[in-house]
């Protein structure tokens, strides 16, 4: 049924329809409304047969989910930013133990400086932990991906992160079609664990593993991701058959058929890029966009097929790998191995800096003229950067960088763009 609702509530309702049995909640902006929504549903009896546990940290949140999942319960939690770093050890542990936990990430920047707004630094920091990572483009997709995520996680015994842009999606009110329980039940069977703590059949889980076997255990995590490359499109197709709409899959192309320039992006940014692409097309540019939904596993073949006929690729990234530049770009470049085309990395939107259509159109124009650097910073205020560098040259004790810059920018700085 179509409803106008906040993205977080849409996610909460979709998760509730998946019949989670243990939900661990710890507040962190911008994820909090999701667990608030679920907590209310459990409290008022709308969501039954579910333990809602208020824990004392994100590390505990995922740890409780690990225990619950190992004891055979469908387990869910949500976090963001500092929270995923605080639970980082447990993130690896859940994957290493093969526990099919689903976790929403309300994508947010990582401090210092502390910042609550959206970018992808948090999910990217844990990209190689052994979790599947799916990025939602819209609130509808954010809701839908959770239904697919439980199915995928439990089929593969592999945890799944659903990455939802903080504020841009989590706090945005949009029209979302929330499916009914019968539809979800038909799509998502009950959880049948491959390993479970059971007094009738005692097992030891989490034994000490030495050089003789650790490598194989880790390889098998990689193997699961390979299998996910097959299952993700199949599950998206089944989802379409059941629910009547496209959601998920590995990648999606938009107006790429004759495109000379193809922009690659993840998450909610894709919508803005599509608008800019439409406008650039209307002005005669041959440009399209490829959105990557599945970042882990990274669909090398599909990305290659989508990009190989272009003349240039512009990868828009909401995360800066300090010391090298892009992260998504690395995967894209790998997918294009042996193919000669121009590749540009554009870091954009860090800490919630708006990515406007105007800036994108300027960027596309520069790209079409091949005037971009290999690594670019969209709408970075170079004056501010240079002034801070100059302060550092003037005196040894120049003071804390963020505070210097805030003084420099002044209160009007809050009016970004």
């Amino acid at each position: 049924m179509l409803k106008q609702m906040e993205g977080s509530l849409a996610v909460a309702q979709a998760v509730a329809l998946c019949r989670p049995e243990v939900i661990c909640a710890y507040p962190i902006t911008p994820q909090t409304h999701i667990v608030e929504g679920l907590g209310e549903m459990v409290k008022d009896g709308e969501l039954t047969n579910c333990e809602f546990i208020n824990v004392e940290s994100e590390f505990a949140a995922l740890s409780v989910a690990i225990g619950a999942s190992a004891a055979g319960a469908r387990s869910y939690t949500a976090t963001a930013s500092q929270g995923i770093l605080f639970m980082a050890e447990a993130v690896y542990n859940a994957a290493g133990l093969g526990l099919p936990i689903v976790m929403t990430i309300g994508n947010r920047a990582i401090g210092a400086p502390i910042n609550i707004w959206n970018d992808h630094s948090d999910s990217m920091a844990l990209r190689d932990a052994g979790w599947i990572q799916l990025f939602a483009e819209t609130n509808q997709e954010a809701a839908d991906l959770h239904i697919q995520a439980f199915r995928l996680a439990e089929e593969l015994s592999c945890p799944v992160m659903v990455c939802v842009d903080g504020f841009i999606l989590t706090h945005a009110y949009d029209r979302v079609d929330i499916p009914d329980q019968a539809q979800v039940d038909a799509y998502l069977p009950p959880f049948e664990p491959v390993q479970v703590l059971d007094c009738k059949d005692p097992v030891s889980i989490g034994a000490m593993v030495g050089p003789e076997a650790f490598f194989e255990v880790r390889y098998l995590q990689h193997h699961k991701q390979d299998r996910a490359l097959d299952r993700i499109p199949q599950l998206a197709a089944e989802f379409k058959a059941q629910f009547g709409r496209d959601s998920g899959g590995l990648i999606r192309s938009y107006r790429c058929d004759d495109a000379e320039t193809i922009v690659v992006a993840l998450g909610s940014l894709v919508g803005t890029v599509k608008d800019a692409v439409d406008e650039a097309r209307a002005a005669g540019s041959q440009i399209g966009v490829v959105s990557i939904c599945s970042f882990r596993p990274f669909p090398l073949k599909q990305v290659r097929a989508a990009l190989q006929s272009a003349k240039r690729v512009v990868v828009l990234e909401k995360c800066l790998a300090v010391g090298i530049g892009g992260i998504v770009s690395d995967g894209v470049r790998k997918s294009l191995s042996g193919i000669q085309l121009k590749g540009y990395t554009v870091i954009a939107g860090l800490g919630g800096r708006p990515i406007t259509k105007r800036s994108l159109l300027d960027l596309f124009a520069s790209a079409a003229r091949d005037e971009l650097q290999e690594l670019n910073f969209l709408d970075l205020n170079w004056d501010v950067v240079h002034r801070e560098l100059e302060r550092g040259r003037q005196q040894r004790r120049a003071g804390p960088t963020a505070e210097n810059i805030l003084r420099d920018v002044g209160v009007t700085g809050a009016r970004v763009a």
């Binding site: 049995e21 243990v22 661990c24 047969n49 579910c50 333990e51 546990i53 208020n54 824990v55 004392e56 940290s57 590390f59 505990a60 740890s63 409780v64 989910a65 690990i66 225990g67 619950a68 999942s69 190992a70 004891a71 055979g72 319960a73 387990s75 050890e89 447990a90 542990n93 133990l97 703590l197 059971d198 007094c199 005692p202 097992v203 030891s204 889980i205 989490g206 034994a207 000490m208 593993v209 030495g210 003789e212 076997a213």
Partner: protein
């Protein structure tokens, strides 16, 4: 065995042998049907107090619940020596996740059992003093505060033994560890530091807190069985000598544990909802020297010129325990 009545001087204790007790009061380990939950063949050192404590504790928990126990283990000696892949000593469902999250994982297991309608199965979380008083403290306090249906057992050997004997917040003052070496003007661990986890557990007003010692295994079993009959968060802190880390003879593990109790340095008591309900009275107090001397970690106190001031300071700690907990008979 024929039943013999307990003599007057033996009343109120479990120090009498099994042969003097009624069947129902005999130790779990004396029972032919004990479960051997932590089976032989593991890789603990000779004289390991932790292996002994865990074996008694888990078997007692199994007996109390009709063999319906699952255990979650923190990283540490117990985890490592019991599960050298692909072998395991555990005859019960057992899980290890991380160093600092055993209490939280156990909360998750308990939640799953509740939601699955398997509430008759009971969950025990266990770890060493490092995994309990230091790195796992946040998760433990959270489990207590939520009153989750978990018994947490800390096997306290007073340092990080698995990594090579480094100081923890349970390391006693003056003890030599690899990070509080017996050098300089104030050798060993500093005074005025550390934390008393049983008292902190009591401050959470959880249903049950107890201390126990491998010197009094029957008492340990009774406390575990009592804990298994109670719903909610429970905590048992077991003193387990470590021959390797303490520099004591493996054959002396029980003796040293007993001297810790009898000196007043490791008081045995029980508490319910934050109030002490029972304590083990000391019939024969021994000076702390008797406990300290057989341990090389305190050897720097007993050179050619014994460090009488430091020994007196340790004696003062024992005296305070006796005074505040009412341990004097």
């Amino acid at each position: 065995m024929a039943f013999q009545p307990v003599k007057f001087y033996q009343t109120g204790t479990f120090t009498v042998g099994n042969r003097l007790l009624a069947d129902s009061e005999r130790t779990v380990q004396a029972n032919m049907r004990r479960t051997n939950s932590l089976n032989s063949g593991h890789r603990a050192c000779q004289g390991c107090g932790e292996a002994l404590g865990a074996r008694y504790a888990i078997d007692a928990a199994m007996q109390a619940t009709g063999n319906q126990v699952m255990a979650v283990n923190a990283t540490g000696c117990l985890e490592v020596f019991s599960t050298p892949y692909p072998e395991t000593s555990w005859q019960i469902p057992w899980m290890h996740s991380l160093f600092g999250n055993a209490a939280a994982v156990a909360s998750g297991v308990a939640a799953a059992l509740r939601v699955k309608g398997r509430s008759s199965v009971k969950v025990i979380a266990q770890g060493g003093d490092g995994g309990t008083t230091d790195i796992g403290f946040g998760c433990l306090s959270g489990m207590f505060e939520r009153n989750d249906d978990v018994l947490y057992i800390c096997y306290d050997n007073e340092a990080y033994m698995n990594t090579g004997v480094q100081r923890s917040s349970a390391t006693p003052p003056a003890a030599r560890t690899a990070t509080t070496m017996a050098v300089g003007p104030h050798p060993g661990n500093v005074f005025g530091t550390g934390k008393n986890l049983p008292l902190i557990a009591m401050a959470h007003h959880i249903p049950y807190v107890a201390t126990a010692s491998v010197a009094n295994l029957h008492d340990l079993e009774v406390k575990v069985m009592r804990a298994m009959g109670i719903e909610g968060a429970r905590y048992i802190h077991i003193h387990v000598p470590c021959p390797l880390g303490w520099g004591s003879a493996p054959a002396d593990t029980i003796k040293i544990a007993r001297l810790a109790v009898e000196s007043g340095l490791f008081p045995l008591f029980e508490a319910e909802r934050g109030e002490i309900t029972d304590r083990h009275k000391l019939r024969r107090r021994v000076p702390v020297e008797e406990y300290l001397k057989p341990q090389r970690r305190f050897a720097h106190l007993f050179g050619a010129r014994p460090d009488v001031n430091t020994i007196a300071s340790i004696q003062a700690i024992a005296d305070r325990n006796v005074r505040t907990l009412g341990l004097a008979d």
